[in-house]
Symmetry: C2
């Protein structure tokens, strides 16, 4: 599948209806995953706060993980070494373990597996990874899902205007900086990682209101300010955050690009923003004449680690 | 107090012996704090994983916060609006609430208060904020504390060599990027915020192993690579992380500056690294002829938010 078709695959993924098996007696959730597979856990952690949820992106599980912990291992390939290590610990600790994967070692060490279709880059499987979490824990209407799918379809058919945005980054070789806020902090981080992986550009993310306590200072002081391009999302429903976004622009004098979001529900807005970032980084890769699929740096690294 | 004396105050703070009152029946901890006051909760969250700990840097408490939640409000001034809002919610939700503050509104709404000495910038009170958490939950020997104090004292008396490091950033107006790893992720973030607040330079942090799944790609592709200066810490005790740090340098070709850490215990290494970052950013401010104390951007922002 070429990369454009991978991107277009997302609208199918939001209709992935699998659910995780919820243990009878549990009081916290640990979701292990790295990079393109781990982002689903990070996004879910913001969406669901009825129980403590920990998005784990490391080798070791926290000490508190016990028999009353629901542990979800996420690795698209099924062979991510950090996730395998954490999952082995979780099994030994007596957690209720399940996994989302297309196969690999993970499939062989975990009993409770939701298999997702293979053939994609891990970062293009976000819908497959995220929807089982949403389906299992959140009440999202089928209408909201359908509308999210429609928004993705719209973006798939018309996104040339996002290319114009990519050109602004390209022309001056800018460093994108994406500012999120709850519950979209991880969407900002997703953009950062898509800039890294697809367009191969350095990029960073941060979030309101925390950035108003530190990063706002160099923003105002113009340290290399004209070398960045700043983004935020136009979907805050908290008036205090909206005020901060505007005040931050005013105090710092930076041009803060607000990406507006159609859609009513969180799921619609979220998937729209995810896909906007997909296309922004895809177009930037094309402008830079760079293959968005190429992740040879990660492959080189794995070779060294194994050697 | 001038800023240099604020920095030198830290070695006194590690001997701050206050302890939080631990509720009889609790199963999770939420620590609310922003910016320079919030960093203590972020650091503690990595040090202590026996129970779920949430470092909260937002207005709202998570849904799971209940009567079995120990809630610690941290605000040096006592007037941080996000912390006040979250604390009011925590009181209403029936959490066991205590606070660490030098006064302000927080002192008047929370019964259980540990007062810390006033007169510092919030970011210079890290020892006062962090030690009560460490004293209450971690077994740290008084010898380790004493040694940490000695290391800070050493840095206070000899740090001109850190100025040489600051000069490298200054000469080419580089953007510092600091790579941590567990349990030093938040120390990398602390450096980032100290670069922001003291030296008024844009700076970013990230952590192993997650960055090997995305950021390594633009590192290799040399996107503006010569405009950054990369740091990591020389104190990983996990062989897999150490291997990753070296492999990341090899694959990407970046010059990754390893900051070595004297000391045996986690507390020694941690405070040493914190203070190294203090001096690095202080010297950079001086080289840039910028007042490290000046946080007028934050004050301007507050005025707009109140107006």
């Amino acid at each position: 599948m070429d990369f454009l078709n991978e991107l277009k695959n997302l609208k199918k993924q939001v209709f992935f209806e699998e659910k995780l098996e919820i243990p009878r007696n549990y009081d916290k959730i640990v979701i292990a995953g790295m990079g393109g597979s781990g982002i689903a856990g990070k996004i879910f952690q913001e969406m669901y706060t009825d129980k403590p949820v920990f998005a784990l992106d490391d080798y070791h599980i926290p000490e508190f993980a016990d028999e009353k912990t629901m542990f979800v291992a996420m690795s698209y390939s099924g062979n991510t070494e950090e996730v395998i290590a954490a999952t082995r610990e979780a099994i030994q600790r007596g957690c209720s373990v399940s996994a989302l994967t297309s196969g690999g070692e993970l499939e062989s060490i975990v009993e409770n597996v939701i298999k997702v279709p293979s053939g994609l880059q891990p970062r293009s499987s976000l819908g497959y990874m995220l929807m089982p979490l949403i389906n299992s824990f959140l009440k999202v209407s089928s209408e909201a899902i359908r509308k999210a799918g429609d928004l993705l379809d719209d973006l798939d058919s018309r996104n040339e205007w996002i290319k114009e945005e990519a050109e602004k980054i390209f022309e001056r070789e800018l460093i994108p900086v994406v500012y999120g806020f709850s519950p979209y902090r991880s969407i900002a981080y997703r953009w950062k990682t898509q800039f890294n992986e697809n367009a191969k550009v350095m990029a960073f993310s941060n979030y309101f209101p925390e950035l108003d306590h530190n990063e706002i200072i160099p923003l105002k002081q113009t340290y290399r300010k004209d070398q960045f391009r700043f983004y935020t999302f136009g979907c805050s429903t908290d008036n205090r955050i909206t005020k901060r976004i505007h005040a931050t622009g005013r105090v710092s004098g930076i041009e803060l690009e607000h990406v507006e979001t159609p859609g009513e529900s969180l799921v619609e807005k979220m998937f729209y923003l995810i896909h906007y970032g997909d296309y922004l980084t895809y177009h930037l890769a094309n402008l830079r004449k760079i293959d968005p699929m190429d992740v040879s740096a990660i492959e080189d690294l794995k070779k060294i680690l194994k050697g």
